[in-house]
């Protein structure tokens, strides 16, 4: 299976803090890869570098054959990014928002309409799409943003905490949606989350990051077996604690 993302020795140094230290991993086509780690571990910085929002201090990442350093515009054509706790333009109606965002990916009206129709089906907001986003609940906004993130069928969808702040039912719905898109449409996902249950349910492979280092990668059952623990939460605890000791 071809790699959609190949991260090579990626590092990011803020003035005095080394936020990400030479991390490397790859994501295959149709794969859901979850990046997990404690607060301040470097998850968001890594995701922002792959999304071309931040420039790496060293290293590179290849997204669908394009380097984030050499061809950031091409990378942005192949990805979509949903930031943690992202909002949408409150003055716009849901449908206008989808049309606006689709218009940033294509100038072809037919393609644009197809993107918007797809988003309408995925988000399931029905007539509420004609209301202003300011009147939406948090769950509705998240569904709208997720639909926006996948409407263009990107090669790689990067979702930072996709279900944060959502109730159980909404979170389940979104997890199912992600899984379905990967399985049926071959879309690849890079997720970040603090919810181990969610990670275990939705992801194919996991990477645990701590203090800017990617400590371990593997499938959920592989990791549990390697650390001889019954669940992912304990794997996470062991890995992070081991890094603290070192």
């Amino acid at each position: 299976m071809a790699n959609v993302l190949e991260v090579k020795e990626l590092s990011k140094q803020y003035s005095k803090v080394l936020a990400v230290d030479r991390i490397s991993f790859e994501i295959n086509e149709g794969e859901i890869f979850a990046l997990i780690g404690p607060n301040g571990a470097g998850k968001t910085t890594t995701i922002r570098m792959i999304s071309t929002l931040l420039t790496p201090t060293s290293g590179d990442a290849i997204v669908a054959g394009h380097s984030i350093l050499k061809a950031p515009e091409k990378v942005r054509e192949s990805i979509t990014y949903l930031p943690d706790e992202a909002g949408a333009y409150k003055q716009m109606t849901g449908i206008k928002y989808l049309r606006f965002m689709a218009g940033l990916f294509t100038s072809d009206i037919d393609k644009l309409n197809a993107y918007v129709d797809r988003a309408k089906n995925i988000c399931g907001l029905g007539d509420r799409l004609n209301d202003k986003i300011g009147s939406y609940s948090r769950g509705m906004i998240r569904k709208l943003l997720l639909a926006r993130a996948v409407m263009t069928k990107p090669k790689l969808a990067i979702l930072d905490e996709p279900t944060s702040g959502l109730d159980v039912l909404n979170a389940i719905e979104i997890r199912k949606m992600i899984k379905k898109l990967a399985e049926e449409e071959g879309m690849s996902f890079l997720l970040s989350s603090h919810n181990m249950l969610e990670i275990e349910f939705v992801s194919d492979r996991i990477g645990i990051i701590s203090k800017g280092h990617l400590m371990v990668t593997g499938r959920s059952d592989e990791l549990k077996e390697r650390y001889q623990v019954p669940n992912l939460e304990q794997v996470f605890e062991r890995v992070v604690n081991e890094n603290e000791v070192h």
Partner: protein, 457 residues
Amino acid sequence: MKFINLLKKELSELINKQMIISLVFVLAVFLIMGNVMQSATTEMVKDANNPKINICNLDDTDFTNEMLSYFRSNNTDINNITLTDNDYASAFKDNKNLKSFVIIPQGFADEVLAGKKPEVLSVSKVQGVSAFSGMTGGTDGTISLLNGYISLKLAEQQGVSKDDLGIIEAPLKVKEHTVVADKSAEISSGTILTKVLMQNMILPLIVLILIMMTSQALIASISNEKIDKTLETLLSTPVSRGSVITAKMLAAAIAALLNAGVMMLGFSSYTKGMMGSMTSDVANGIHTGVTDNVTETATSIILSGDAMKQLGLTLGASDYLLIGIQLFLTIMICLAISIILGALVNDSKSAQTMLLPIMMMVMIPWIVTLLADINTMPTAAKLVIWAIPFTHTFTAMPNLMFGNYAAFWCGLAYQIVFFAIVMFFALKLFKSDKILTISLNLGQKSRFKKSKKTNED
């Protein structure tokens, strides 16, 4: 196509229902204020052009009656006031519109005829503290008429003719000349300055409104995107950061122009209300009797058009083009500064604070150029004022009017250099990581630390 999409989104955010309602409200306020000012000035001009004197003639002798008849024959209306039990307030109760009157006491004529200085009483009612409440209805005009009449009578007694009396009272004929650069005209410098001030009042106000509106719009646009995290989403789409910032700048400029246009419409109706009644009445004909200072000044200003041309104080098409270029540059500087300030914002409170530096940069040169001549200031103060780029916008019109082209071009060159430097840093900031990581939460140390930590996650 993608740029148009971005521009449409920015415009729809800036030009929304709230903005239209606020513009209509501002326009209505100006129109109401204009009407109020018009009624106040109309009354003032009416008083000046149709003198009506209020006199309580307690003397009631042939001399005083003859004096009042003389006034009447010179087109002056006389309102006879009567007092009840010597109570001055009673006069105002009986005449609701009465603001002041003069009492000619008993024995007035005897004292005049005896060559003494008779006493008259001036009674005025204070009915408010507004700027215009004290400008009309005084007794100066009445007393001036009385003085004139008595001087005439005394002169006649001494065998002095009316013409000779005129010479005694004002023995000098003053012809005022004003020189601007190498040109001169027969007009008082005061009149020229008032005319120039009236003409130059509008441009600084347009500049002020444009700068404030543009900065506010752009700072809010960038800071809202940062606060709502929509900026991250936007910058991760296949559009260049240059297009994003250009769309924001253009939309802010369009919204500001719309705001400024509506405000100027309102402001011109307000000034028309204030000046219109005064100037039109004066232009119709100047009263030969009592002419107060306001009317005199307005008359000379109206008649000063030719003198302005003679002195080269009128602006040609090329001058207006230069002013337009400078205005454009001013807006560009303002937009460039706003990008930097907007990027520093991380919450809605600091978004409001960020407007302060621009406000200071506009208000200081505006007030200074309004009240003082920068060239006469101490060198250090002069340099500080000139270092503010907007100073050169406020001095542009006077510089062109008075032929100080060197000063104008120096100002323009300084603004171009200033804009290039600020825009370079603004674009560098917007195209770098800092647009997402930088924050300046003034007075909120703990929150600053928190946001920094989050950015470094």
